[in-house]
Symmetry: C2
Subunit: 154 residues, 2 copies
């Protein structure tokens, strides 16, 4: 699955950055809401993995949570950062910094690092060793924070 997932990650990223008809189909406010939905759902699953590592460890629950995160991470969320999504739209607020829309190289770096960390987390969770999962989870959390630090307002 490693190779397939990595290929998918790069393919998805390519899709994300050239933009697609699909991105155009969503209004800017819908793009903001949809990307926030993805992050919220990943956050819930990150919380579940943390709870498992801090308490009783359920391998199936951690694997399911990691697969949800990897599935979302690989879904081409870059398409949800289309024109007009760089600022609040009415009641739809965004914390994205303007730099995300101009620093293509830097965004590509954090995006690839995040997708690779998410895929590594899913692969590690499937194998079930708790210590390795803890390390993979730490790396994944770092990849989230790296992007937040550069491209998200406090």
């Amino acid at each position: 699955m490693n190779t397939r997932l990595r290929a998918a990650a790069l393919g998805t990223l390519a899709i994300a950055f050239v933009g697609t008809a699909t991105a155009a189909d969503l209004k800017p406010e819908e793009q903001i809401q949809t990307r926030q939905a993805g992050y919220s759902f990943m956050s819930w699953n990150m919380g579940k993995i943390k709870a498992n590592l801090d308490g009783d460890y359920s391998q199936p629950q951690v694997e399911a949570a990691a697969n949800a995160i990897a599935g979302i991470a690989n879904s081409g969320m870059g398409a949800l950062y289309g024109p007009g999504t760089d600022k609040d739209i009415g009641d739809v607020k965004t914390r994205v910094k303007p730099e995300l829309f101009t620093d293509q190289e830097g965004v590509g770096e954090v995006a690839v690092a995040f997708i690779e960390a998410a895929n590594n987390m899913a692969e590690t969770a499937a194998l079930g060793d708790e210590a390795e999962v803890k390390a993979a989870f730490g790396k994944l959390g770092e990849s989230c924070k790296a992007c937040h630090k550069k491209y998200r307002k406090d």
Copy 2:
């Protein structure tokens, strides 16, 4: 992957229905928001698959979208229907019908059907035959509607 995913589906469902410490960690309004985030993100990915079937077909994009849906479907969303999440909480609105919280057998049936259809979609998307993907997508859409019809207000 078929067997593994089916096992995960049943495991996840079991986790969902016995309830977990994780469910308790989220406030009822957060549970409603998180389940809606999951459905929103799946809806976006359903739209991408439809756009691919209606227009130019990109196998990697369809596979990525199907994996995102399957990942979310298998993540144990039943844990997001905890006590107090059966009605609006302030500005957090829900369209869930009361029956979802009492009809355990009926909910189990639509949940299993949905998870199986999502897994079938992901497996079919990975194989890449467009006609088979169209059929799998139709089945998945039916499984969504079956639950909406029984347990979601208009």
